[in-house]
Each structure stands twice: as C-alpha cells, then as structure tokens.
C-alpha cells in the first residue's frame, strides 16, 4: 500500500513537471495568443480527480514556480492558481460528474478567470492598459485542450491505479 502511495505521488509530480516544462517553452510571438495554460489544466485535472492528494498548498507552490519562470512579481500566479484551486475544489464532485463538454465549458470559464486576473494585476501594478480581446482565444484553446488532457490523464491515473 505504501509503495503504491509513493508511486502515485511521483506520477502526479512528474505530470506537473512535464506540464511546466512544456508551458515555459517559448512560442513565437504570432502564435503566443493561442498558447494554452497547460500547467493549469493538469493541475485542474488532479484537483478534480483527487482533491485529497493535491490541494491549495500545491496550487500555491506551483504558482510561485510559475512566477519565477515568467519573471512576474512573486505571488501573482500563486494568487491566481489559489483562486482557481478554490473554485474547482469547491464543487469538485459536481464537476467530476458532468459530461466532458460541460467540463470543458467550466474550464473555459476558469481559464478566462485566469487571463483576466493576470490582466488586472498588470493594470493595477504597472498602470499600463492594453485591452485585447485575444485573451479569449487562449481560453477557448484551453477549453478544447481540456478534453485531450482529461482523457490522457485519466488513462495515466487508471494505469498507475492512483486513487
């Protein structure tokens, strides 16, 4: 039982690490608006599937790491990811039982929340206003990508028997 426990933790961290590495790979500026928040999606899956394994503390830590990589002020992504973790864990049982397309709409809303919070922080700290409707695009990509991520991670979860 103990060994299984350890593998499951390792697998969860490994998926998050891979997600982080893929997320920080630079995209060329033209396609940057389509860039999905892969780390957030993977975190969202584990939050919904196993809320007792990864929680608010994990979200906070991931946010700090993301802040270090993106060069933003320390704490911005931690704040945002904590909010997202709260939103998802608050109704995780409901979300878990929804159909896949309904889940993907929820993820779209969460991602929109993410993008607008990043924007709000930017405006309030640097006082630079650049309104772009393009933040919608990356949320849509997130919503669509959720289906792939969900199926893939469910496969991983079942094959490693993580619960």
């Amino acid at each position: 039982m103990m060994g299984n426990n350890r593998t499951s933790i390792v697998v969860i961290w490994l998926t998050l690490l891979i997600g982080l590495c893929i997320q920080i790979i630079p995209w060329s500026t033209e396609y940057n608006i389509f860039k999905p928040h892969l780390l957030m999606l993977i975190m969202a899956y584990w939050l919904i599937a196993l809320p007792h394994r990864i929680g608010m503390g994990m979200a906070f830590l991931l946010g700090i790491v993301l802040d270090l990589f993106s060069g933003s002020l320390l704490g911005i992504h931690a704040f945002i990811l904590s909010c997202i973790a709260y939103l998802l864990m608050f109704k995780f049982q409901l979300i878990r039982n929804l159909a896949l397309w309904q889940q993907s709409i929820i993820i779209f809303a969460v991602s929109l929340c993410y993008n607008s919070l990043v924007f709000l922080f930017q405006v309030s700290i640097y006082h630079t206003i650049t309104i772009s409707p393009l933040i919608l695009v990356s949320s849509i990509v997130d919503g669509i990508l959720w289906i792939v991520i969900y199926l893939f991670l469910r496969l991983i979860r079942r094959s490693f028997a993580i619960n």
Partner: protein, 280 residues
C-alpha cells in the same frame, strides 16, 4: 505547509491563507529591496529547468546543422570569410579614427572614451507572459553580469539586465512597458526619452520640447545620460511624427533597430561606469 493546509481546515480558510501569503509576497517583492536576495537564490535553484525547456529547440537546431550538406557549409564559410575581410578593412580605418578622436579629445580636455568589454550570450527563453517582454540568457552572476548592464545585438540596443541568478539572468527589452531609455537624435543631438510600448507597437518618445526638429527616418542613438548605456549605440528609427491637435504637442514613435522578436544571440557590454557623458 502541512500544518497550514491540513485537510481538516475548511476550504475557505485555506484560500484565505494562500491569498494572504501571495499578497504579502507581492507587496514584499515590490517594496522590500532585500527580498531581491531571496529571489536570486530561488532563480538559481530553478535555472536548470531553462536548459530542459530549451532542449527541444536547441536539439532541433543542432539536427538542422548536422543535416546541412558539405557544399552548403563550404559556401557559407566562403561567404563569411568575405564579410570578415570587409569588416576587418573597415576596422583598420576605425582604429585610425579612434586615435585621432582620442587626440582631439585630449586637446579639448574632455575624458577619453574607453573600449567596452563584450561577451556573447545566448537566449534561453523568450516571453512566456503576454504582458512582460523579457528574455532569459545563459550568463549569470558567475560570469560577472550585473543588474542594469546593457544588452545589445548586432543591430542595436536590445535592453538591460533586470535580474541575475548564478548562471542565468533575465534581461528586460526596450519595448517593455516598464522600460525607458534616454536617446538623442543622431542628426542634431536633441535628447529625449524613448519609452517602451509593448513589442508589437513602436517606442513612444517623451520629454520633448514643443517644437522639435525631428522627421521620419531620423536615427536615435543612446545619449549616455543615464550612466548605464554607453553613448552612441543605435536604438530606433523614427517611424511617425504626428501633432496632437488639442495642445499641439508632437506625438512621435520610433521602431527599434534590433529585431526584438527574433533574438537568439546577444552581446553583454561592460562599459566603464566612470565615463558617463563627455559634458562639462
């Protein structure tokens, strides 16, 4: 961490603690200077991951290099030799002009200009955050990089060092919203400040006199008034000059000369900090 986020404490309490912690971090990072030390160590810890994330691109590049035919390589080599010879002959003349300039400056009694020490660096990571225009380079404090150090490429000023870690550092580009650089018009030495406006837009020129002699196509070079950027490096070319109809102030924008969207190799400059400007 285990105690703070134990399973028994309700979700809202966890949220409250997380948000309070992150807000504290944000305030600390903005206001408290010694916090930069903490950030330096954290950046050093995570810097190996930059190499991991850069691995796909660099391995693709090296594969591309390997797949080149010998003929192409020979051609490229010949072409590079040719440009090198041309550059060298230009340098011969430059050496002569430099001596002459030094003698003239000596006669005028103004301080001599010193050669900068240069080091090549490679970009590991470009913008990941859509509102922040920064790049991570593969030289850090161990190589002598310091905060505020000018970064150039072969076409002009790129930006300056913003944060350092042990073996990597982060440079802010001149087109970032937070960045401003003092420039002067090459043609008539009018000085002004070029403020970043996002990398998809041009730089905005600020602190101008009301009727300024400037036209489209003027080259803007660093003025060296800030004591950070050495004088005379090209920054931008004026792209549009408009007049605000309400209060007749000129609105001038300029395109950076460096290709800020496709940065790969950069040069770090170690200027002589003592030589700021040849005024007096």
């Amino acid at each position: 961490m285990k105690l703070l986020f134990s399973k028994r404490s309700p979700l809202s309490v966890q949220l409250f603690i997380s948000l309070a912690l992150s807000l504290t971090l944000i305030v600390l990072d903005i206001n408290y200077r010694p916090f930069k030390e903490v950030r330096y160590y954290l950046d050093t810890i995570i810097s190996p991951l930059y190499y991991v994330s850069n691995a796909p691109k660099s391995s693709f590049d090296s594969l591309y290099e390997m797949s080149k035919k010998q003929e192409a390589l020979v051609n490229e080599n010949a072409r590079l030799q040719e440009t090198l010879i041309q550059q060298k002959s230009n340098l011969l003349l430059l050496e002569h002009l430099k001596h002459e300039n030094d003698r003239l400056r000596g006669l005028l009694g103004s301080p001599l200009r010193h050669d900068e020490h240069k080091m090549a660096a490679q970009v590991l990571l470009a913008d990941t955050d859509p509102y922040v225009y920064q790049v991570v380079i593969n030289k850090g404090k161990n190589d002598g990089v310091y905060v505020g150090q000018p970064v150039v490429d072969e076409k002009g000023i790129v930006g300056q060092i913003y944060q350092t870690a042990q073996s990597t550092s982060r440079a802010i580009l001149i087109c970032d919203y937070q960045h401003a650089i003092p420039v002067q018009v090459l043609r008539n030495d009018i000085s002004m400040v070029a403020v970043g406006n996002g990398c998809s837009n041009d730089l905005t020129l600020d602190f101008l006199p009301n009727n300024v002699d400037i036209k489209v196509g003027d080259v803007l070079v660093t003025s060296g008034l800030d004591g950070r950027f050495p004088e005379g490096y090209p920054v931008a070319v004026v792209s549009s000059v408009k007049l605000d109809i309400s209060d007749s102030t000129p609105i001038i924008s300029a395109t950076p000369t460096a290709d800020l969207k496709r940065l790969r190799y950069l040069l770090l400059l170690w200027g002589d900090q003592g030589v700021k400007h040849d005024g007096k």
